[in-house]
């Protein structure tokens, strides 16, 4: 029997409006604390909001199809 896939934490739609930008999220990944084209700016926005260890992610933009390294 196939088990239905339920994403662990659906932060995908939280970061989607910031495609191509660095985004900092609250530790539970539900709130955007900062976003910028510059990583340092996004981090500083989160620190200023009192989050000592934000989660940093580069939101994929429309040119991203797959992650290949």
């Amino acid at each position: 029997m196939k088990k239905k896939f339920i994403p662990e934490k659906d932060m995908a739609d939280v970061i989607l409006p910031f495609a191509g930008q660095w985004v900092t999220l609250s530790s539970d990944k539900t709130k955007v604390l900062g976003h910028s084209k510059k990583m340092e700016t996004a981090l500083n926005q989160a620190y200023k909001k009192g989050e000592s260890t934000p989660h940093l992610i580069k939101s994929p933009d429309s040119s991203t199809s797959v992650f290949i390294f």
Binding site: K2, K3, F5, I6, P7, E8, K9, D10, M11, A12, D13, I15, L16, A19, W22, T24, S27, M39, L43, A46, Y47, S52, T53, P54, H55, L56, I57, K58, P60, D61, S62, S63, T64, S65, V66, F67, I68, F69
Partner: protein, 147 residues
């Protein structure tokens, strides 16, 4: 021996013109880097990558933990993305597995090519070799880490 079953993380790729929004599912873990008493004051995503020989992180994250990145052991690598120079340093990586932080000693490479991606690679040496087994179930979009 404990086994942790984790779900892939969903990422959305925005629509562009007639190309609709897409969804990607990847085996990602939240990661920190530690260099003695200095650590990254943020977590970031790393891909659990069985195709990677080593653990590799963005060069700029190495600088944030006080490494003189280019003073590390220099290795030329050949991959899908072409030729890349990595600089290796002994660090600790911290990965969150089911809410628990695992600190692992690792000789990790740092790459300038990963800077714009902001993502790490958890490869076979330094990550896979520290667990009894790591297995993927692509159809269920799940992976399993056995201690």
């Amino acid at each position: 021996m404990k086994t942790h079953t984790l779900q892939y993380t969903k990422l959305s790729i925005p629509s562009q013109g007639k190309v609709p929004k897409k969804e990607l599912y990847c085996p990602l873990l939240d990661t920190f880097l530690f260099n003695k008493s200095i650590q990254t004051h943020f977590s970031f995503k790393s891909i659990v990558d069985s195709g990677a020989d080593f653990c590799v992180f963005p060069e700029k994250f190495g600088k944030l933990i006080g490494l003189d990145v280019k003073a590390g052991d220099k290795v030329l690598t050949f991959g899908v993305g072409g030729i890349e120079t990595l600089y290796f340093h002994k660090i600790q990586i911290g990965v969150h597995i089911k809410g628990e932080l695992w600190k692992l000693d690792c000789k990790a490479g740092f790459s300038a090519k990963l800077n714009p991606k902001g993502i790490g690679l958890l490869g076979r040496k330094g990550f896979f070799d520290q667990f009894a087994e790591i297995a993927f179930n692509q159809n269920k979009k799940m992976f399993r880490i056995k201690e």
